[in-house]
Symmetry: C2
Subunit: 253 residues, 2 copies
């Protein structure tokens, strides 16, 4: 029997946001690899082995998973959110490119999932309703000047900006610096949405203005969405506002 490797996105956290396709791919796996807290979201299955690892060991995890698939196992690599957005699918591809030739012959498939910005946006209205970008603030693997340049370019061009990996204990200042850069380019009233742990018990969604956006509202489980100059806030008495980016935005740039 030849092995198989699925890289599977299980969405931002709510069990009802896991697609049936992902559930099925997980169910037929002999071995699950992933960051411990992601694996903990899945119910145990008889005869299925789990290989939990730290979230900074992506390449090593990818190699271990490929190695086991090459031995004939049906391996599932689990990502939070979507498997292809700042997640394990790129690490698996990178491992294949630089690994043994046999890995290129493996049956590899990526199963997409809801990425965090979509779930956060849904809670707020439709802030991603028009042109947007997704940017990781982690400077572990790219230099900060590249990130700063992308922030400037995206804001100047009128993209809504979703920030992934906004902050961590090892990267405490990057989000504050990002807000400072964006304040140079965007109006003070530009809406900013902090979506933390959306779909989970610890969910907290905060809508604020760029002028007063406080990096302390974000942690590792947060996705931050910064509006474009066209993004609107519709106040509703007794209800949270609706934040949306009009389908016709851009004419003002």
């Amino acid at each position: 029997m030849s092995g198989k490797l699925h890289v599977i996105g299980i969405g931002p956290g709510h069990p009802d946001q896991i697609t049936p396709e992902a559930r099925e791919a997980i169910a037929v796996a002999t071995d699950l690899f992933g960051y411990g807290p992601y694996l903990d979201r899945l119910p145990p299955a008889a005869g299925q082995q789990r290989h939990a690892s730290d979230n900074r060991e992506e390449l090593a995890r990818a190699r271990a998973a490929l190695d086991l698939a090459a031995s004939g196992k049906r391996v599932a690599v689990i990502s939070g959110g979507d498997a292809g957005v700042f997640a394990m699918a790129a690490a698996v591809c990178e491992a294949v490119e630089h690994g043994p030739a046999a890995w290129r012959a493996l049956d590899i498939a990526v199963v997409p999932g809801l990425t965090a910005m979509l779930a956060v946006a849904a809670r707020a209205g439709a802030p991603l309703g028009h042109d947007f970008c997704a940017l990781s603030l982690s400077d572990n693997l790219k230099p900060w000047p590249v990130i700063a340049g992308r922030l400037r370019a995206a804001a100047a061009a009128g993209f809504v900006i979703a920030l992934y990996n906004p902050i961590s204990r090892a990267r405490p200042w990057q989000l504050g610096e990002a807000f400072a850069i964006l304040r140079e380019q965007l109006p003070p009233a530009t809406p900013v949405i902090f979506g933390r742990a959306v779909g989970r018990a610890a969910e907290r969604v905060t809508i604020t203005a760029l002028a007063g956006a406080d990096p302390a509202l974000a942690d590792m489980a947060t996705c931050v969405i910064v509006g474009s100059p066209g993004t609107r806030v519709v106040e509703r008495p007794g209800l949270p506002p609706l934040v949306y980016s009009p389908r016709s935005s851009g004419a003002d740039r």
Copy 2:
């Protein structure tokens, strides 16, 4: 009884890519609104009324749905892909902003779904594995110079670019012009992925290089992903290549 309006994303087309959350929200609705072909993907339910309309009537559809919700019905507005990405959630918010005050008191919720670029990316590997943007090529609601400017800015800053609404009978030249703009900024070998009707019977995924990218490979059901200068193609004997954007991309810009 007070009415309710759900805006629901049903994913790019495969029934197993509809989340249980979306299925449940559809099941409890008294009335479904949407573009006819999207409604046709859902099994009929007893006692549930369908209001199909053309895909260029988004604002009128949003108003009709809000009106019915205000009369006490449980209304679901169906979007293909994600409800918040170039889709109905923004139209609903826009209608609320400019509509009667009563609409602001309605119970409105957005249920996210898999947006097309995630499903297309999964088929190719992990082209969205690092910083990327999503851009609509439709100039029905924004002037072409804005689109051209965003293409230039995104390519120059090193974003992978997902193109929505790349082409239609009424907009036949925009995708070719977009490729021409991108060829001025990106290497000829930059990978381009045409993902058509992913997850449906008519699925066709084509991977090519920017130099020879042919707009005729796209139609209204296609999402096009253009790599960044860092995006890699991993050839595999007898299998389609893996296209991915490394987690460390950007250092070369």
